[in-house]
Amino acid sequence: MSVLHPERGPRFPDGRPEDEQPAWRQDFPIDLPQDVFVARRDYTKFLLLTSFAFVIGQFWIAARSVLRRGRGRPPIAKVARIDALPVGGALPFNYPGPNDPCLLIRLDDRTLAAYGQKCTHLSCAVVPKLDQGELHCPCHVGSFDPATGRPIAGPPRRPLNRVVLEVRDGVVYATGVEERTV
């Protein structure tokens, strides 16, 4: 085939026709462009698998959002007596469930704030460093503003979950959790 139509047949690295190739190459005539084509096609198949995995991830998030909506509002829970917390102090508590650690902070005489203790970067526990004006995440040196819960330094991009508080007769109650993107 390659004598009459030299442009046809397998293409060899040195460009010579098949019958001028050494015997070993004639026995194993690998067509390089075809080989490249097959490699690219296999790579595209792998990319499609990745694409499928992303779709699964998206629908997993969607399913989780449906489940979350079904949970409804969290209960109202007593956190502490207001006089048990000095100005500049912090008190850990769990809300809304026993595995949801939060921090109650007294910023000044009249201002209280409470945040989820999980860092929004990789869920390490943030520790209050109110004398330095921050809630500090020791894992990757992230910092949050105690007044707003917004990130001020380090890798976290989202603010801490804010616990909605209500003070009645000197007692602090948690009434909900506000998740925020900014």
Partner: protein, 73 residues
């Protein structure tokens, strides 16, 4: 069997398809990250539209893979 020129043209088409698939996969990755960020921030509005957009990207990718097999014939 195809000619050399035909094969080279095929390879150009293959590279074009591969680039499009890559762009779509990167778009899906960005979509997943943005949706995850919104979901963890309590925003559920974007979740379903993003899931269907990602599914559409997968559909496009499947079409491109099919055309890739056609090129190889």
């Amino acid at each position: 069997m195809k000619t050399r020129v035909g094969r080279e043209q095929d390879l150009t088409v293959v590279y074009g398809i591969l680039c499009l698939v890559l762009i779509l996969v990167v778009l899906q990755l960005w979509l997943l990250m943005a949706t995850m960020n919104a979901f963890l921030g309590g925003d559920d509005v974007v979740v379903w539209p993003a899931a269907f957009a990602s599914l559409a990207c997968l559909g496009l990718n499947l079409g491109l893979l099919r055309s890739l097999y056609r090129v190889g014939r």
